[in-house]
């Protein structure tokens, strides 16, 4: 349990109340489903979200005093629904909105099921990740509406000022309403185009938590946990989609190494040097099980292949035992379907292990990745192994200048200092 943060959940500041943190977390876990249910009932995302926010305010005040309700999800839906009905009754007396308010009141009268229809959450996810919304907006909406994170938490996670996140959310919801983004699950024939956007959002959230783009610590564990939760939700809702499985496996296998990735001081430990006894065996087992399943079904895709690569790493109890040839073969497969410069860069790392650093260096020289710090870090490492310390030092300098993550900078600076 993280240390209590005063004010983070609305609890009084000055130490915070641990109970309040627990309640906030429970609320968060149920609020996504509540928003989804109410959005279906009222056909209005904004209304649903506002109502759940109001219910949150009530919960945070009342639950510590009277205790947790037996069915928090049901409590939230009921409370929020009453908030909406109150608001609609108030507004129906104002001219101009009578027709709309009456219609919504009529639609809302039957008591909605406390348990959401599975489609409710899918509808919500696909709407939040609609391609007509800007990528940052999709992430903010997903974290807010589905993960139930509050604006300050989202702002802290991405190191962006709170008003910026607040504005992003306002604009996104306004666009959904004004441009007429429909609240529905894409039809089967639309899925190939729409699903990648959803997976990309989850992956971006995880990636941000895995290696924070700025700030002092290497990782932000809560974001990774949130991303995995979202990936699991997608897996529950769309169990037959191969890339959904692939993404979940990739996240689990990547997360399994968390404890070994940093020293207690927060310094970066590269894969080759990690203490593999600190890897989470359960996450690895689950991830590998999913990968085996994917291989059996033989409908490969980029996330599944990346998961397979992660699985090969997880197979080796010691770095020296890594089956680099298999990893290289998987990267060849990945490059065939997703021929991006970053894939070529990652492939080069495997290539170096199989064919030596000279061949690998040649394969990355022409890549258009000048603004990417890991490109220069990779070049630096290859140059170091080729005994070209002056060029390696220059590459390390460029890499350091391009990342704002303090742990990464320290690591790269140490590598540079150790050059002969």
């Amino acid at each position: 349990m993280p240390a209590a943060e005063p004010g983070a959940d609305g609890a009084p500041s000055g130490g915070g109340i641990p109970e309040g943190i627990v309640f906030a977390r429970i609320f968060r876990e149920s609020s996504g489903r509540a928003v989804a249910t109410l959005a279906r009932v009222f056909g209005d995302l904004d209304l649903a979200e506002d109502a759940v926010q109001e219910a949150f305010a009530v919960a945070i005040e009342r639950w510590p005093a009277v205790g947790l309700p037996p069915n928090p999800g049901g409590w939230i839906v009921t409370t929020a629904r009453h908030k909406v009905l109150d608001r609609l009754r108030r507004e129906s007396t104002r001219s101009g909105r009578e027709a709309q308010a009456t219609a919504l009141l009529g639609a809302a009268d039957p008591e909605p099921e406390a348990e959401p229809v599975a489609d409710d959450q899918l509808r919500l996810i696909f709407t939040c990740c609609h391609p007509a919304l800007a990528p940052e907006a999709r992430i903010a909406l997903t974290l807010r509406l589905i993960a139930g994170l509050q604006t300050p938490e989202i702002a802290r996670a991405f190191l962006v000022p709170e008003p910026t996140i607040a504005q992003r959310l306002v604009r996104a919801k306004r666009k959904i309403r004004d441009a007429g983004i429909p609240y529905r699950v894409p039809r089967d024939h639309e899925l190939p185009q729409r699903l990648p956007d959803v997976l990309a959002v989850v992956y971006l959230v995880f990636n941000e938590g895995h290696t924070a783009s700025a700030g002092d610590s290497l990782t932000r564990q809560d974001l990774c946990a949130e991303a995995i939760r979202l990936a699991r939700l997608l897996h529950t809702l769309m169990p037959d989609e191969p890339e959904v499985r692939g993404l979940l496996a990739l996240l689990l296998l990547t997360e399994s190494r968390r404890a070994a990735r940093t020293t207690p001081a927060g310094d970066l430990v590269p894969l080759a040097d990690q203490d593999r006894t600190r890897w989470d065996r359960e996450l690895i087992a689950e991830g590998q099980r999913i990968v085996r399943d994917c291989l059996r079904r033989n409908q490969p895709g980029p996330y599944q292949i990346q998961a397979a690569i992660a699985a090969v790493h997880s197979d080796s109890t010691r770095a020296a035992r890594t089956d680099w040839r298999q990893i290289l073969a998987l990267y060849d497969q990945l490059a065939a379907i997703a021929p991006t410069p970053v894939v070529a860069l990652n492939r080069a790392i495997a290539l170096a292990e199989v064919a030596g650093p000279a061949v690998a260096l040649e394969s990355v020289e022409a890549l258009p990745l000048d603004g990417y710090h890991l490109y220069h870090a990779t070049r630096a490492d290859l140059l170091r192994r080729l005994n070209r310390p002056a060029e390696a030092a220059a590459a390390y300098n460029t890499a350091i200048a391009l990342t704002e993550n303090a742990a990464e900078r320290t690591f790269l600076a140490t590598r540079r200092a150790n050059l002969s």
Partner: protein, 117 residues
């Protein structure tokens, strides 16, 4: 049912398309327009003559000022547009996808303001 403006982008000074490409896009846009009319999605459409044929009128403060040239200073200009009926943005985007493929240019989709009843 909503209405959307599908505005075709063009860039001033860009090289003119080949004769073959022009033929292709005329035929494709023509066929596309027929589809829109048949489906009831068509409201209005047309191609515009180039920006240098434009004139701007400002009639504010009791004065009228007429100037040569388009309103926007930028190189990006509207080349033509469709106005369509569509149930929601996804439907409008689907129409715009076909329109963009037909005319070979980017198409911007803007919703019209709802007219109060």
């Amino acid at each position: 049912m909503k209405q959307y403006l599908l505005a075709v982008h063009m860039v001033e000074g860009e090289p003119a398309p080949s004769e073959a490409e022009m033929q292709r896009s005329y035929k494709a846009v023509d066929a596309f327009n027929q589809e829109l009319m048949a489906s009831g999605e068509w409201v209005f459409a047309g191609g515009l003559l180039p920006p240098d044929t434009a004139t701007v009128v400002r009639a504010q403060g009791g004065k009228v000022v007429t100037t040569d040239g388009p309103f926007a200073e930028s190189k990006e200009q509207i080349g033509g547009f469709w106005v369509v009926n569509a149930a929601d943005l996804d439907a409008a985007l689907e129409i715009a996808t076909r329109g963009s493929a037909a005319c070979g240019r980017p198409v911007e989709v803007r919703p019209f303001q709802e007219v109060p009843e």
